[in-house]
Amino acid sequence: MKKSIYLGITLILAASTVLSACGDKSDKSSTETDKTQTATTTDTTEKTDTPAKTEDTPKKEEAEPFTVSLRHIQVSDAQKFRKAILDDVVKKTEADVPGLTIELDGVEDQVNRFTKLPAEMAAGNPPKIFDLFGGAGDALKYAKAGRLLDLTPIIAELGIGDKFLNLNQFTLDGKVYGLPIGGSTEGFFYSKPLFEKYGIKEPTTWDELEAAADTLSKNKITPFAMGSKGAWVPNMLVNTLIGRYAGPEAIDGFPAGSQAWNSPEVVAAFSKYQEWEKKGYFTKGELGLEYADMLNQFVTGKAGMMFDGSWRSSVFKDQAQAGDLTNQVGFFTMPGVPNGKGNQLAVNGNYSNGYGFSADLKPEELTAVKAFIKNMYSEEMQLRGLLEDGLLPSMKLSDESIAKVEDPIVKQVMQILGNSGGAFSHFDSTVASDVYKESESQIQKLIAGKSSAQEVADAMQKVQEKALAAAK
């Protein structure tokens, strides 16, 4: 159950090597990986392609056309960089496997994760390749039900088994059922022009953060952009608040039964959320706003800060999406809270979003899946993800590659990770689905002022206890 802590640490280790690479190219702290990686990079894809190709050659003559369905979540403009990478991988894979057509099906993230995929999994007809989240409520649940393809032999065959920084959220009984596409942390983005205008410094302490929010609020600027129609959005902030008030261990403690939701320290986290809510620190009408609206609030200058995942950073270098805020955004982690438990520098760290594959594959589909994995999980694509999309790599990259990072936010994120000394994951990947579902309805009740922090915490604990009892 210490999985996610371990996970966070790998993220941090990765980031520190990254950082050192950024700082000094001649640093050989990770020589071992360095060599193997540079080898692959110099060879690029040409050579690594050959084994797979020879395998496929006999099939070429009798190449029956077939299609493989692929569900992705890169549907909005904000994800166009990631979509471009996916498109290239698809093209490459189709070229690699004779007869193959990959049928792309884009579905909005939340709809896919919380509506479509669960229903398809229950029905036993998921797409062949699909966007998948790690953790107890997603990948592990489906793996347990035998719906996911065991990838252990495939990644061993492709020689990438040991390249991943962390596969814990996709690993069940030593077998790997999904591959994360990148890593991320959640923290505050802020608008530099607005901060400058009101004389606010990037907050490093809790008091500074609340003072910043207060200043913005007094100037009729929403301190924190928020879109709570999808409850996972406010839950990001809730998660990190819990990580601060109850300590990084709390997130794994919930499903283990060692941390009660209604303990004073978790209640303190909910209370803080409620306090901000009452002070009007979040966007008005947030319960009617989607995730995309939150970004919109932020880039149009209606809000000064936004709590979001580091994956959002690529938006802020794109003029078309960020407008006047292009390259004018900073990122900081949540400062330590007064009387918080545990390491107050710890950060949220996730390697949870990636791809999973249906257990129900025909031989030719399996070939396609292998080719897809080979093309998607390569140093080249990982680096493109980092450079173009600002997504932290999920695989080990060479220092040389990482040194190419220029995006200030990505650099800042890496710095934060390097300094953190510990990490915690998101409770959406540690607790069971029914508990997570309750957290969604409870946080909205808190936002609407229908429940107090204590009531929310009690309700959560009740469902958690039921889940614990059921697990026994």
Partner: protein, 293 residues
């Protein structure tokens, strides 16, 4: 000689395809629902029988009770607000001479459109910052209302959209009945000195009672069935303020933590409600109407 119309094989050929399809998609699902409603099947794992647990869970869940109440709002709103308005407008259209066809055609338009498109359309109308409704209200100095985000307003906003979609349909229905009233009846009343209002209330309304009763019945059935508009506009939110039984069913059975057993139990409950309402209706309003056909 008459054998061809008595031939059971020919008869079967005419009837069987329909019966097969009907049994497969009506009777069998209903029967299997009654079975799964007593299990905890989630599609992923093996199920076990849990007796009436699903039903007690449902009625113990404040969210479900809230959904029932919201369904009642739908019914009350349709019957006591929409229906009078429908009759009012139908009488108005029925008694004008010019533009009657235009009114009829126009008011009917929303009812041929897809509910989901209407949901999207009205989502924009209600948009708090750039939506036209708040822009219009701001002319009168009214602060932005967060129509779909405010637990106080969301239900009303959905009800209004639903009314916008369906009122025209019923108006046309009632209008057809009004136009079928023999002209002489009204003319006679006019000669007797009855005012427009008296004619409307004392002559027209009683004469169109059968169709009003049909409209009420259809409104109730529609209110029990409502789900598309909710899924598209609010998904039952914010905080369950627009959740109805059917959207609760969809969210529970197909949502974050799918549970088909629970979902089918909910559908049986909805069915029971529908039956009770139909029976109540037949015993009260529907009684003295006789057959409508």
């Amino acid at each position: 000689m008459k054998s061809t119309l008595k031939n059971p094989y020919v008869y079967a050929m005419f009837v069987l395809p329909t019966l097969l399809l009907y049994c497969l998609f009506f009777i069998y699902p209903m029967a299997s629902s009654s079975f799964y409603a007593f299990t905890d099947w989630n599609g992923l794992e093996d199920y076990k029988f849990i007796g009436f647990d699903n039903f007690t869970t449902a009625f113990n869940d404040p969210d479900f009770r809230n959904a029932i109440v919201n369904n009642m709002y739908f019914i009350l709103f349709s019957v006591f607000i929409q229906v009078p308005l429908i009759i009012f407008f139908a009488i108005l259209v029925g008694h004008v001479k010019r533009f009657q066809g235009f009114y009829k055609t126009t008011v009917f338009i929303p009812s041929i459109l897809s509910t989901s498109v209407i949901g999207i359309l009205w989502g924009f109308i209600y948009e708090p910052e750039i939506g036209p409704l708040n822009k219009l209200l701001s002319v009168f100095g009214i602060d932005p209302i967060y129509w779909l985000a405010d637990t106080k307003w969301a239900m009303f906003a959905v009800l209004a959209t639903n009314a916008w979609q369906w009122m025209g349909f019923y108006i046309v229905l009632v209008l057809a009945a009004i136009l079928a009233i023999p002209r002489e009846v009204n003319e006679a009343a006019e000669i007797d000195g009855a005012s427009g209002r008296q004619r409307a209330l004392l002559i027209t309304v009683p004469l169109i009672r059968p169709i009003i009763s049909v409209v009420i019945m259809l409104s109730i059935a529609g209110a029990m069935r409502v789900v598309d508009i909710i899924l598209v506009m609010t998904k039952g939110g914010p905080v369950g303020s627009t959740e109805v039984m059917a959207s609760y069913l969809v969210n529970e059975a197909m949502g974050v933590d799918p549970n088909y057993g629970f979902g089918t139990a909910i559908s049986l409950i909805i069915f029971a409600f529908a039956l009770v309402l139909t029976a109540l209706y037949q015993l009260t309003l529907g009684r003295n109407q006789g057959g409508n056909d």
